[in-house]
Amino acid sequence: MGNVIAKLWEFLAEMLLILPAVMVLMGLFSVWVPKETVVKYLGKTAGIKGIFLAIIFGALPTGPLYIAFPMAGALVRKGARVSNVIIFLSAWACIKIPQEMVELQFLGAKFMTARLILTVIFVIIMGLLIERIVGCGAGNPIKLTGGENNANI
């Protein structure tokens, strides 16, 4: 039992050192990057620039992935490419600077860098593939029914 408590203390001390820095970064991002900006720019852009913006705008805000679903829905309804919305969601899920910092701390630079690079590559491929399957390109926006969030975004 002493072993458990020693390990618990060791781990808590480590987290208490990292968490405040993570919280400060999260706070700054949510202040500097308003959600309206994200919706505005991503919805109008296409091509390589759109992919790039999708990654940046997905990566900057903080919060759990389910916060991003209504925004992604709004983007699709406003005519954003399905591929960009998928890339946006994936970037939101796994490309976050505070998150990468914690990954770096616990799993090491090699692990973090390899996973980040592979994720970016495969997420773009996945986005384009899903767009192909769904059959809605830039000029043929998908029709979504049951969207209740047009008004409040």
Partner: protein, 122 residues
Amino acid sequence: MRILPAVITIAIFISLLQSFVSHAQISKIIGEHSGLGGILFAATMGAILHIPTIISFPLAASFLKGGASVTAVAAFVTTLTMVGVVTLPLEIKELGKKIALLRNAASFIIAVIIALIMGKIL
């Protein structure tokens, strides 16, 4: 500070895991020789569990230390962030069944591919 209870829960879980689950047990289930089954098990756990990513990294690190393979840990971390079984109903409501199901299925597959590549290069 909403994250604090989750941090403490995970801290307790990791301490218990490291004290009571042996290296041999972890490496048998998700170690180098657990094969594709181990990778798929790790990926499935990542898809089902709903824990904040930031506190999942120390958990992943303790799996690695405990004898899990890089491939299994990479699969776990990647599906944990990208695939959400718990949040799927919400995703379907916002994006429609087709996109939501495709995104989760494709994310699961690319997570396994990313993990396999990482196991090869690291």
